[in-house]
């Protein structure tokens, strides 16, 4: 029942905001500062949900999602965060389990609602 969410972003502001929002709603949060770290943490212990920035040094959010989709036994539902103006090519998402693409600055409330909806947890708003 204790759902684990992996949050990957090289921007500490974002990870802080997202982690707090999710933790306040009773979710367990693991923070990774780049794609590589996120990949390693997910590989060691698969989370229930992934929130990742698109643009990260080294492994991008899309690459991270693609690798995990291939390597993990179950598809990992994902929300992709992107900086404003950096529109993402829908075709690149393809069959990846990306549920939402949220443009920064996003509403943390909306992000939480999306995660809760995807995990089937009652929204505690």
């Amino acid at each position: 029942m204790n759902c684990k969410v992996l949050v990957a972003d090289d921007d500490a502001f974002i990870t802080n905001v997202v982690a707090r929002k999710l933790q306040n709603a009773g979710l367990e949060v693991i923070v990774a500062v780049d794609g590589q770290e996120a990949y390693e943490r997910a590989a060691a212990e698969p989370p229930d949900f992934l929130i990742t920035d698109l643009q990260m040094p080294g492994m991008s959010g899309l690459e991270l999602c693609a690798r995990l989709t291939v390597e993990l036994p179950n598809p990992l539902p994902t929300i992709l965060l992107t900086a404003k103006g950096f529109e993402i090519d829908r075709s690149k998402i393809g069959s990846l389990p990306i549920l939402h693409v949220m443009t920064k600055p996003f509403s943390p409330r909306e992000l939480l609602a999306n995660v809760q909806e995807a995990l089937g947890i009652g929204a505690a708003r």
């Binding site: 502001f13 802080n16 905001v17 707090r20 600055p105 509403s107 409330r109």
Partner: protein, 491 residues
């Protein structure tokens, strides 16, 4: 009532949970925490297992804590059987609290070791307090940042939603919904007072603490005589205000922001009640920004509709000057415009195109301004030369309307409303789909109205006969789809 409360967070004297226990377990020393005046800080729940929980501090400790706090220096008192230490603790450069320890000694010989131990404890306590304070600062920054994100995304979304072609209330409902969610208020309200005979409009999100029907009176009472551009009302103790308490016993807190609307009486954006934190200037600022964005939108929308009305009136004036020249066509343009709009509606072309059809119907004969009255008013058959002159009216109309970008589709319809789908019309002899869609609609509506009116050269046809005549010419004079739409419109 008008004051912005300065909601400053209280001094961070929170001792992190479990800190006393942690030190006791690791260093075997019982630390207690005190305010700067020497009173003990109640331990957070879960720390009640500290050995000295509930017992009053000794006189020595109280004295030492006060001394340490006053001097902002560590204090140590050595008795024969006890060593007492007090450390003032500064956070962010300000003395905030003190920690103290009484360490029992079994003999004088333990003193040097005990002193070193206490020094280590003091360092550890300070380090952990600083860390906890940094963490709590970090948390409140993240909290503030999160709120800013909500606010930015609210304003951003409101900006996205602002389209002049949207109805005002749709926007205000959206703004209320978002404001309520973002501020955590129990209810948010947008209110536009009646203007120019229009009814007052109201959008509500959430559960209001008072009757909706009382809102106009409440806002009226609150905003009476205040400057709609600069005023924000915040009240976190409504029940203490006799005026407000009269409205509802359930109204605790409110923020009311006027929405300045040009010459119109100001509207209001308001939030009601919030459990937890009081409303403050950040809430007011957010509501104010939303109010400003909404006001610009409402004002633009009003100007837009005024502009549209003005344009329509100008067109009508122009058209009536044609009708005045030609007594037989009196009311003809208005009827053609209505029929054209009905056909466009039947073809499900959308509101914008239906309005274009209406406009094209109104303007289709505008070129007759350039046709000599003698020809327009002539009874009996026209000579070929006269026919040639009158047939120039679509092109003259096209000239009159040239250069008005917004009317370009209308202009095309005016030029081609006498074309026939079999190519035997004028002025260009266009065929079928080559004739602009709007011209095909107006062409039929025009022919139908001509058939059902008296003309100098023939009497009017009965309605059913005219409809039969139209259907008979489907595919030759008239576009098939337009004819279908016309005959199914039941006109």
């Amino acid at each position: 009532m008008l004051a912005f409360p300065t909601t400053c967070s209280p001094a961070a004297t929170d001792v992190p949970e479990g800190l006393a226990r942690e030190i006791r377990e690791h260093l075997g020393v019982a630390v207690a925490f005190y305010r700067l005046d020497g009173t003990p800080i109640a331990e957070a729940p879960g720390q009640g297992d500290a050995p000295d929980a509930g017992t009053a501090p000794s006189e020595t400790v109280t004295r030492l804590v006060r001394e340490a706090a006053d001097a902002n220096e560590d204090r140590l008192a050595a008795g024969p059987h006890v060593l007492t230490a007090a450390w003032p603790i500064s956070l962010r450069g300000q003395p905030r609290l003190a920690a103290a320890v009484e360490l029992p000694l079994s003999g004088e010989g333990e003193q040097p070791l005990a002193r070193r131990l206490l020094a280590a404890v003091g360092t550890a306590v300070r380090a952990r307090m600083a860390e906890a304070d940094a963490q709590s600062q970090c948390n409140s920054l993240a909290e503030a940042l999160s709120q800013s994100f909500e606010e930015i995304s609210l304003l951003h979304n409101v900006g996205e939603v602002l389209r002049v072609t949207r109805p005002v209330m749709g926007l205000l409902e959206y703004v209320c919904e978002e404001l309520r969610e973002t501020t955590g208020a129990e209810a948010a309200v947008a209110y536009l007072p009646a203007a120019d005979g229009a009814e007052p409009e109201m959008a509500v999100s959430g559960r209001l603490p008072l009757l909706e029907s009382d809102l106009p009176r409440l806002f009226g009472a609150l905003l009476d005589g205040l400057d709609p551009h600069g005023t924000v009302l915040i009240n976190n103790h409504c029940q203490q205000d006799p005026l407000l308490a009269r409205f509802s016993i359930a109204m605790e807190r409110l923020v009311v922001v006027p929405v300045a609307l040009g010459e119109r009486a100001p509207g209001v954006l308001a939030a009601f009640n919030r459990s937890g934190e009081e409303f403050g200037s950040p809430d007011a600022k957010l509501i104010r920004s939303s109010a400003n964005a909404s006001a610009v939108f409402i004002e633009n929308r009003r100007l837009y509709s005024e502009l549209q009305q003005m344009m329509l009136n100008l067109v009508r004036a122009l058209v009536s000057s044609v009708d005045a020249k030609d007594p037989y066509t009196c009311g003809h343009s208005e009827r053609v415009s209505i029929t054209s709009r009905t056909i466009a509606g039947q073809l499900a072309l959308g509101d914008e195109r239906a309005e274009q059809a209406y406009m094209a119907g109104l303007l289709h004969d505008i070129g007759k301004i350039g046709t000599p009255e003698a020809i327009l008013r002539k009874e009996g058959l026209l000579l070929p030369e006269e026919r040639r002159i009158i047939n120039r009216h679509p092109e003259i109309g096209g000239h009159i309307l040239s250069g008005i970008r917004k009317l370009e589709p209308v202009r095309e319809a005016v030029i081609h409303h006498h074309e026939r789908v079999d190519g035997k019309g004028y002025p260009a002899g266009l065929k079928g789909e080559a004739i602009p869609w709007l011209a095909r609609i107006v062409g039929l509506a025009d022919a139908f109205d001509a058939m059902t009116s008296n003309r100098p050269y023939r009497p009017m046809l009965p309605l059913d006969e005219a409809i039969r005549e139209i259907k008979r010419n489907k595919g030759t004079q008239f576009d098939a789809a337009v004819t279908e739409a016309f005959s199914s419109s039941g006109s």
